[in-house]
C-alpha cells in the first residue's frame, strides 16, 4: 500500500529441481526450472560430471522421514482472501497517520509466501516440508518544518494471518510513526569508543554478525574464519551463551527440516564464553568427524546448500532489567533498533547500523541520536559483554541473511546487554 492506496498486487510462481552431487569436498550442482523428468535427469547428469571417474551406482531406496511441526499457519496467508490482506494494510496505514499530523507519508507491504520442498538423498532420506512465511513492513515519513525523517517497523514469521491476532497490523503502523517522530529530534551522535547498551530483541543482530557467520563450519573447514581452531577456547565473556535454534515455534528462522533432509536440533555454539560447536552442513560434518549436521540451508532449488544460521540468540543472564543496566553507564549509547549489519569473517570485524538510538548520560537516557554505524571485532566485543540482562526477547524483525549470493530468512534474539566498548560512528568528535 503506497500512501494510502493499494497500488499493485504482485505475485508469482516459482518451481524447479536442484541436484547436488558430492564427491569429497567437491560439489556438482545443476538445476532445472521445471518438474519434467527428462529435465531433472539432465540436471543430474550435469551435476554428476564433477564426480571423478564414477560410473552409475545401484538405485537407492529412499524412505520417507517425518519432520516435526514447528510452524504456525492454520490459515495459510497465501491463500487468504485478498480483501483480508488489504484490510490489514489499511489498519497499519491508519494507525501510522493517526499518530501525528506530522506523518506525511506511509507505505506498507504484506508479503506471504508458501513454499513446499522435497529433499531426497542417496543415503535414503526422503522428507517434505511446507513452509509458510508472512511478513508485514510499514515505513513512515515525518516532517517538521524543513526536517524530514523516516521510521519503520515490521514483523511476521512462519505463520499465517493468525500472526495478526498477536501483533495487530496497527502496532507496526504506530511503531513506524513513533520512530520517525523520535528521529525528528535526533541530534548528531558522538564518535569514538564508548560503552553501548543494546536493547533486548533486535540487538541479536550483534550475535549474527559478531559470532554467527564466523561459526559457520564451511569457513572453519577452509580455515578462513577467525574462529578457526578455537573450539574449546574462550571466545567471549563467561556471561555469554549463544544458541542457534531452528525449533522456535513460528519464528522466521525456524525450519522443520534443513535443505539437506536432516531434522535439526538446537545448536549450542558458545557456552559460558567457551566455543563448543560450529554449525555444520554434511560436507563439514564429515570433515570434522561429527555424526549430525542440520545447518545446511539454501535459498532455493537454484543453489547448493551450505551452513547457515536459523534463529540465533543469547540466553538471558542475571543482571536485571534494561533500566538496571542503563543506570551503570555514565556516558554511552543506548541502541534500540537496527537496520542491518555485515561481517568480515577473516578478521572478525563486524558492523551494524542503528536506526533508533539514544545518548546515555549519568545513567539516564537523554537525547535521541541520528542513525550511526557501530563497529567492533567479534571475539573482542564478546569478551567485553559485562552485563547480560534477565529480560530475553525474540526479535519480531524481518531479518534476511545474505551469504555467497543466497538469502535465507533468519531470526535473532537477545536480553539487554552492555558491551563495555564499541566504536560508535557518529559525527561529533
Amino acid at each position: 500500500m503506497e500512501d494510502g492506496r493499494i497500488r499493485v498486487a504482485g505475485g508469482g510462481v516459482d518451481l524447479g529441481v536442484g541436484v547436488r552431487v558430492v564427491a569429497g569436498e567437491a560439489v556438482g550442482y545443476a538445476y532445472a526450472e521445471s518438474l519434467e523428468e527428462d529435465e531433472i535427469a539432465e540436471a543430474a547428469d550435469t551435476a554428476a560430471r564433477i564426480a571423478r571417474g564414477g560410473g552409475g551406482g545401484p538405485a537407492v531406496t529412499v524412505k520417507r522421514r517425518r519432520a516435526p511441526v514447528r510452524y504456525g499457519a492454520e490459515i495459510s496467508a497465501v491463500d487468504a482472501d485478498g480483501a483480508a490482506r488489504v484490510a490489514l494494510l489499511r489498519q497499519a496505514d491508519r494507525a501510522a497517520r493517526r499518530a501525528s499530523r506530522r506523518i506525511v507519508r506511509v507505505d506498507a507491504s504484506l508479503v506471504a509466501v508458501h513454499k513446499e520442498i522435497l529433499v531426497a538423498s542417496s543415503d535414503g532420506a526422503f522428507v517434505a516440508d511446507r513452509q509458510p512465511m508472512v511478513r508485514i513492513g510499514v515505513s513512515a515519513v515525518a516532517r517538521r518544518g524543513r526536517r524530514t525523517e523516516a521510521g519503520s517497523s515490521g514483523g511476521g514469521g512462519r505463520r499465517g494471518l493468525e500472526y495478526f491476532d498477536e501483533v495487530p497490523a496497527s502496532f507496526h503502523g504506530e511503531e513506524a510513526a513513533r520512530v520517525a517522530l523520535v528521529n525528528l529530534d535526533a541530534r548528531p551522535a558522538p564518535a569514538g569508543q564508548m560503552p553501548v547498551v543494546l536493547a533486548a530483541g533486535d540487538a541479536g543482530i550483534l550475535l549474527h554478525e559478531a559470532v554467527g557467520h564466523g561459526l559457520e563450519a564451511d569457513f572453519n573447514r577452509k580455515r578462513t574464519s577467525n574462529y578457526t581452531d578455537r573450539i574449546g577456547k574462550k571466545v567471549a565473556s563467561p556471561r555469554v551463551t549463544v544458541i542457534d535454534d531452528p525449533t522456535v515455534p513460528g519464528a522466521r528462522g525456524s525450519i522443520n527440516v534443513d535443505d539437506e533432509g536432516e531434522v535439526p536440533r538446537v545448536h549450542r555454539l558458545i557456552v559460558g564464553g567457551k566455543l563448543r560447536n560450529y554449525m555444520h552442513d554434511r560436507i563439514s560434518a564429515r570433515y570434522f568427524g561429527r555424526k549430525r549436521a542440520g545447518s545446511g540451508r539454501r535459498e532455493s532449488f537454484r543453489h547448493p546448500p551450505m551452513p547457515r544460521m536459523t534463529n540465533t540468540y543469547m540466553e538471558a543472564g542475571e543482571d536485571g532489567t534494561e533500566e538496571d543496566i542503563i543506570r551503570t553507564v555514565s556516558r554511552g549509547i543506548f541502541a534500540r533498533r537496527f537496520s542491518g549489519g555485515q561481517v568480515n569473517i577473516s578478521n572478525g570485524d563486524f558492523v551494524f547500523s542503528l536506526v533508533e538510538g539514544y545518548l546515555i548520560e549519568n545513567g539516564r537516557i537523554t537525547a535521541p541520536l541520528k542513525g550511526v554505524n557501530l563497529i567492533g571485532n567479534g571475539p573482542a566485543a564478546m569478551e567485553m559483554v559485562s552485563m547480560v540482562g534477565s529480560d530475553f526477547r525474540f526479535s519480531d524483525g524481518m531479518w534476511t541473511c545474505g551469504k555467497d549470493g543466497q538469502s535465507v530468512p533468519v531470526g535473532v534474539g537477545m536480553p539487554t546487554i552492555k558491551v563495555d566498548a564499541l566504536t560508535v560512528g557518529g559525527t561529533e568528535v
Binding site: 503506497e2 500512501d3 492506496r5 493499494i6 497500488r7 499493485v8 498486487a9 504482485g10 505475485g11 508469482g12 510462481v13 569436498e25 567437491a26 560439489v27 550442482y29 545443476a30 538445476y31 532445472a32 526450472e33 521445471s34 540436471a43 560430471r49 564433477i50 485478498g82 480483501a83 507519508r105 515519513v141 523516516a150 569514538g192 569508543q193 577452509k222 578462513t224 574464519s225 577467525n226 578457526t228 581452531d229 537454484r302 547448493p304 549489519g341 561481517v343 568480515n344 577473516s346 578478521n347 570485524d349 563486524f350 558492523v351 551494524f352 541520528k370 542513525g371 550511526v372 554505524n373 557501530l374 563497529i375 571485532n377 566504536t423 560508535v424 560512528g425 557518529g426 559525527t427 568528535v429
Partner: protein, 448 residues
C-alpha cells in the same frame, strides 16, 4: 530469440483478449556456469538453464504484475487469468498509464553486448582459469596461507519485450568474471583477506588469471598489522572501488520512486548546486560492451544518455512513466525490466573522469585516510546520513603508511558531495555503477 519474441507477442495478444487494456510482457532465457576451486581442487561446478516470463497488466486504472518460471502452455493460461484477477484487487490509480505509443523505440540500437564465445566456455576451461588464478595468489608470497578460493562464472541471456502499445524488441547479453580471495594469517588469530576480480561482457577483455591472483594476494598482505586509529575529523581519499559505493548511494536517491516517496534527500533540489563544478554524474545506456547498457527500457522507450548532475548542478532524476507523472517531469526512459512492478533503474551510472592521476589525490594531506573497502548498510536516503565501517590506510605526509581497520567514517552524503575536492582519471566500467578515485575534504573517522 525469435521464439522468445513470438512468445511475448502471443502473450500480449492473449492478455488483451482476456480483458487487459494495456500490458507489457517480458520473456527471458539464460544459461549459466559457475565453478570454484580451492587449494586448486574443484569445489563447485554449477550449471543451469533458466527461463521466465513477467507481466504487467493495466485494466481500467488498476495495475498488477506477476512472474512465472513455468512456461508450459497450460500453466501460462492459468497465469494470465491469475494476474488479471490480481489487477481487480488493486485500487484505481489514474497515474498508472502506459507510455504514449509515439514515445516507444522504433529502431533497436546495437550495443555489442553479446560474445558468442561465452557459452562455449566449458567447465574444464573455467576450472583451469580459476586454478591458474588461485595458484598465482598462493605463489605470490609465502605469507598467503589459505584461500577462500577462486571462482569463474559465465552467463548469457536473451530476452524479448512486447507491449500492447506496439513495441517488440529483443536483446542479448553475456558476462563472465573471475574472482580470487586470498588469505594471510595475522596476529591474534585474525586473518586478512584480499579480493580481486576481473569481469567483462567479452572473454577477451578479462584480465589474465595470474594477474588477478597476484593482485588478490597483494591486497591480503597489505592489511597485515591493520589497527584502529584515533577518532578525528580527517580528509578522506576513496579509491575507485570504494568511491563506487558512494556513487551507488547517489543513484538510489535520484531514482524516481525514491524521490516521489519522499525517500531521497535530493528531492526538491533540481536546479541546485549539489557538488563542485568539476563533478558530473551521468547515466549512459549506450556505452558499447558496458555491463549496464541497453537499447530500450522496460516500457519500450528508446534509451538515452541522461546527465543527472552536470557541473555540480542536479539536472534530472531518473524516471519511468509512473514516477515521471508523480513528479510532473518528462520521463527519462529509465524504466526497469519489462513486466515488473514499475520503477526506475540505472543503466551505466558513473561519476565522470577527472583529470588527476590517482596518486596525486594524496598530495598535500598531512594526515588523512585512504579508504579501499567499506562495510555495512549505514545509509538513510531520507536524510542522506551516511556511516559505514571502513578499511584502508593512514595517509601521512602525502603517502599511505600503516593499514587501518575497525573504524567507521561518517558524514551526510549531501555534505560529502559538496565537499568533493578532487576526482581522479581512473574510472573503470567493470560494473554498471562506477567511479574514479575521489578525495573528500573531511569526514568524521571514529576509532579509539
Amino acid at each position: 530469440m525469435q521464439a522468445l519474441a513470438d512468445l511475448a507477442q502471443h502473450a500480449v495478444e492473449r492478455l488483451r483478449a482476456l480483458g487487459a487494456d494495456h500490458c507489457e510482457v517480458g520473456v527471458a532465457s539464460g544459461r549459466e556456469l559457475e565453478v570454484s576451486v580451492r587449494n586448486e581442487a574443484p569445489e563447485l561446478v554449477k550449471e543451469a538453464l533458466s527461463s521466465g516470463m513477467s507481466v504487467r497488466v493495466i485494466c481500467g486504472e488498476r495495475v498488477a504484475t506477476s512472474s512465472t518460471t513455468d512456461l508450459d502452455p497450460d500453466a501460462i493460461e492459468g497465469f494470465f487469468c491469475r494476474v488479471l484477477e490480481m489487477a481487480r484487487l488493486s485500487e484505481p490509480d489514474p497515474l498508472a498509464l502506459p507510455p504514449d505509443p509515439k514515445e516507444l523505440a522504433r529502431r533497436i540500437r546495437s550495443l555489442d553486448l553479446f560474445d558468442p564465445r561465452t557459452d562455449r566456455i566449458d567447465a574444464a576451461t573455467a576450472l583451469r582459469r580459476a586454478q591458474r588464478a588461485e595458484r598465482a595468489a598462493r605463489r605470490h608470497d609465502r605469507r598467503i596461507t589459505a584461500s577462500e578460493g577462486a571462482s569463474f562464472g559465465r552467463s548469457s541471456a536473451i530476452s524479448a519485450l512486447a507491449t500492447s502499445g506496439g513495441f517488440l524488441g529483443t536483446a542479448a547479453g553475456t558476462y563472465q568474471s573471475l574472482a580470487v580471495q586470498a588469505i594471510a594469517d595475522d596476529e591474534g588469530g585474525k586473518k586478512r583477506s584480499g579480493v580481486y576480480w576481473t569481469g567483462a561482457r567479452f572473454v577477451e577483455e578479462l584480465e589474465p588469471p595470474a594477474a588477478v591472483g597476484r593482485e588478490a594476494a597483494r591486497r591480503a598482505l597489505r592489511f597485515l598489522g591493520a589497527r584502529k586509529i584515533e577518532t578525528a575529523r580527517l580528509p578522506v581519499v576513496f579509491d575507485r572501488e570504494a568511491a563506487r559505493s558512494l556513487v551507488g548511494l547517489v543513484a538510489s536517491c535520484v531514482l524516481g520512486d525514491a524521490v516521489y516517496r519522499g525517500r531521497s534527500f535530493l528531492a526538491g533540489k533540481l536546479g541546485e548546486q549539489v557538488a563542485p563544478s568539476f563533478v558530473t554524474i551521468v547515466d549512459d545506456p549506450h556505452l558499447p560492451r558496458a555491463p549496464g547498457s541497453r537499447a530500450y527500457d522496460g516500457e519500450g522507450r528508446a534509451t538515452r544518455k541522461n546527465v543527472v548532475i552536470r557541473n555540480g548542478v542536479l539536472e534530472t532524476f531518473l524516471l519511468d512513466t509512473y514516477s515521471a507523472r508523480k513528479l510532473d517531469q518528462p520521463p527519462t526512459a529509465s524504466a526497469a525490466g519489462g513486466g515488473s512492478i514499475p520503477h526506475a533503474t540505472t543503466s551505466n551510472f558513473f561519476l565522470r573522469n577527472g583529470r588527476k592521476k590517482p596518486a596525486s589525490l594524496l598530495r598535500g594531506i598531512d594526515r588523512g585516510l585512504y579508504v579501499v573497502r567499506m562495510m555495512g548498510f549505514g545509509f538513510d536516503p531520507v536524510t542522506g546520513n551516511f556511516s559505514r565501517g571502513a578499511e584502508g590506510f593512514l595517509i601521512e605526509g602525502g603517502a599511505c603508511t600503516v593499514p587501518v581497520g575497525e573504524i567507521t567514517i561518517s558524514r551526510n552524503l549531501g555534505e560529502i558531495l559538496a565537499d568533493i575536492e578532487a576526482v581522479a582519471n581512473d574510472l573503470d566500467h567493470r560494473t554498471a555503477i562506477a567511479s574514479p578515485s575521489v578525495r573528500v575534504a573531511e569526514m568524521t573517522v571514529a576509532g579509539t
